[in-house]
Symmetry: C2
Subunit: 342 residues, 2 copies
DNA sequence: TTGAAAGCGCTAACAA
DNA sequence: TTGTTAGCGCTTTCAA
């Protein structure tokens, strides 16, 4: 390409570069640009990265792309990345700790400038610490137990979270406010901070009113699926006397809620007349199911944007301040909740 | 790292390499491995790529990640890529031609070994040809008009498609078989081959029975959204006499179908009693909406697998044979379709 | 304003 | 079995 224009590669490089094209004679530059266009020349980003030591690339680790929540998060990341010419490299963990290690390793090998991790389990603390020693890490959506350094001080972290405790508390308080006194939750695994928060919010709401009984089964959902919600609700409701049966169920996830509704129907009961159900996430189409699901809407895209901004500020060496951003969810009332009929 | 082990970098490289570690003394190799582990050393994939001329990376261009169909396609690609240690780089176009050019350009700059494109518009023919001159291209899901070379011969291409014509024909034939005689379709844009196929299948089914009338409105959906389905159905049904109103609607997409159902209800009609509705895609939760939607299930994941396999065979220099793989969809009957009541 | 030269981290010939 | 050397394609001093 440089040859076609009859110049040295260094000159060509300068002509093509956004910040030093001023250093080259405008007629030479024109010649270079023309030759480049003619040959369809694209600078080799791999070589550029090797030379510059930076890849203009951002690792984004999500648990599961078939969960629209994470897709929305990615869109938020992209909102911020695109104008900077940064390419997000997306990896999925399927909530498997081994896969998390593998994909993060791979992203590091590819020298992403930073990594946003939205798929940690609370047992990943040590691993994340080791990653932080290598590249900037932003924790999104899910957090870790407070880290301490060797002196017992709390070590700063960059994270963008949503207030799951508040989201759950608001939803469950709503159930109590409209009259429910026997309530149960369908819990997600406590290996994930989000579900811990939702559980705490649930309990805070429950204990605020001494007349409310918590009828939850101790078993926890191993996955956030319709099938699992169905299974847990079956064991929750079966072989129970009427007065030991909840009149409302708070599910940690929309799909669990859908499974709950399926189970309720199969037992010959109705939602919301016999049992109200609340979900979590406000997934697409969840307003069109039967009955339209009351749920908690999450600021996924906003969270993605914040995560990306934290990443870029970390890259540009704002090594200084650890940051915790906390966004608030919003309860959305639809038809799956109603006052108890008895 | 090599220094810590006290060996030359070349030796370290060999020790770490999967195919030449046999060439190094096993005790030196052990030393190298230990030093690497101790330092948490990860070979720089950027440098490896530059040296090897290959990135072990596969570009995957999709229209829209919030469409679960494409996520499923991605999973299929991943099924094949993971065992080979290949990393898919995902990019979205949002069905914008400019964005398609931009993201493919970027993938080429990053020297992906091949690119799977599932987001072409029929007007992208020239552009795709220019890309094919640079790297192996696999067309997935959507195809292009048959290309001709300068001699008028049909030029080979690698593509993995689904038979949309057959999918649509099967669905519409079902409507006819259960008695519908006045039918309309909600068309997707003819800029995308999939919708052309669905339209053809629709017409083939319609014309097979002379008693069936096509009551479609000429307007076409500009996006595959609930809002658009709602809008089109409103204009389709409003100001029509009963006998000029379809008793069944075939939508080119599930979301359009959901919008159609919304519109039907708002006009005081019922689905399926007054108007049956068929969708296309079998999206998640679409079996839980009210009423559960009859639709066409697509082999997205399979298609992803095939696309990836085509990509890898192209990379390994099977430059030979152009291939067209065509997978068949499956009609799924649920409760949004019933015989006409009049 | 341009060219020459070095070097980013790695691997593959080639030599020893 | 290991070391030496060259070079992948680029950018950036440094010199001219």
């Amino acid at each position: 390409m440089a040859e076609l224009a009859g110049v040295h590669v260094a000159t060509a490089s300068r002509a093509l570069s956004a910040n030093q094209f001023g250093l080259v004679n405008s007629s030479t530059r024109k010649r270079v640009l023309e030759s480049a266009a003619q040959l369809g020349y694209r600078p080799n980003a791999v070589a550029q990265s090797l030379r510059k030591g930076t890849t203009d690339t951002l690792g984004v680790v999500v648990a599961d792309l078939s969960n629209p929540y994470f897709v929305e998060l990615l869109r938020g990341v992209d909102d911020e990345a695109k104008p900077l010419g940064v390419m997000p490299l997306v990896a999925e963990t399927h909530d498997d700790p081994g896969t998390l290690r593998r994909v993060v390793s791979r992203l590091i090998a590819n020298r992403v400038d930073a990594v946003i991790v939205s798929a940690v389990h609370i047992t990943d603390q040590e691993f994340i610490k080791s990653v932080e020693a290598q590249i900037p890490v932003i924790l999104a959506v899910r957090t870790l137990p407070d880290p301490e350094d060797s002196h017992g001080h709390i070590d700063g972290r960059r994270e963008a979270l949503q207030d799951d405790l508040m989201g759950a508390r608001t939803a469950v308080s709503h159930l109590i406010n409209i009259g429910h006194r026997r309530i149960a939750q369908l819990q997600g695994t406590p290996a994930i901070s989000s579900f811990i928060g939702r559980s705490q919010g649930y309990h805070e709401a429950i204990t605020q009113n001494p007349n409310v009984r918590d009828l939850s089964h101790q078993e926890v959902a191993q996955s956030s699926t319709i099938a699992e919600g169905y299974r847990l609700t079956k064991t929750l409701l079966e072989h129970r006397l009427l007065m030991d049966r909840p009149t409302a169920i708070f599910a940690h996830n929309d799909l669990l809620a859908v499974g709950a509704i399926d189970a309720i129907r199969e037992l010959g009961l109705r939602c919301p007349e016999d049992i109200s159900v609340v979900g979590y996430n406000d997934a697409p189409l969840i307003d069109h199911i039967d009955p339209p699901l009351s749920t908690v809407r999450l600021p996924a895209r906003e969270l993605g944007r914040h995560s990306a901004r934290l990443a870029f500020s970390a890259i540009s060496g704002d090594a200084s301040s650890p940051v915790r951003i906390m966004l608030v969810p919003e309860f959305v009332e639809r038809s799956s909740t109603a006052p108890p009929s008895i």
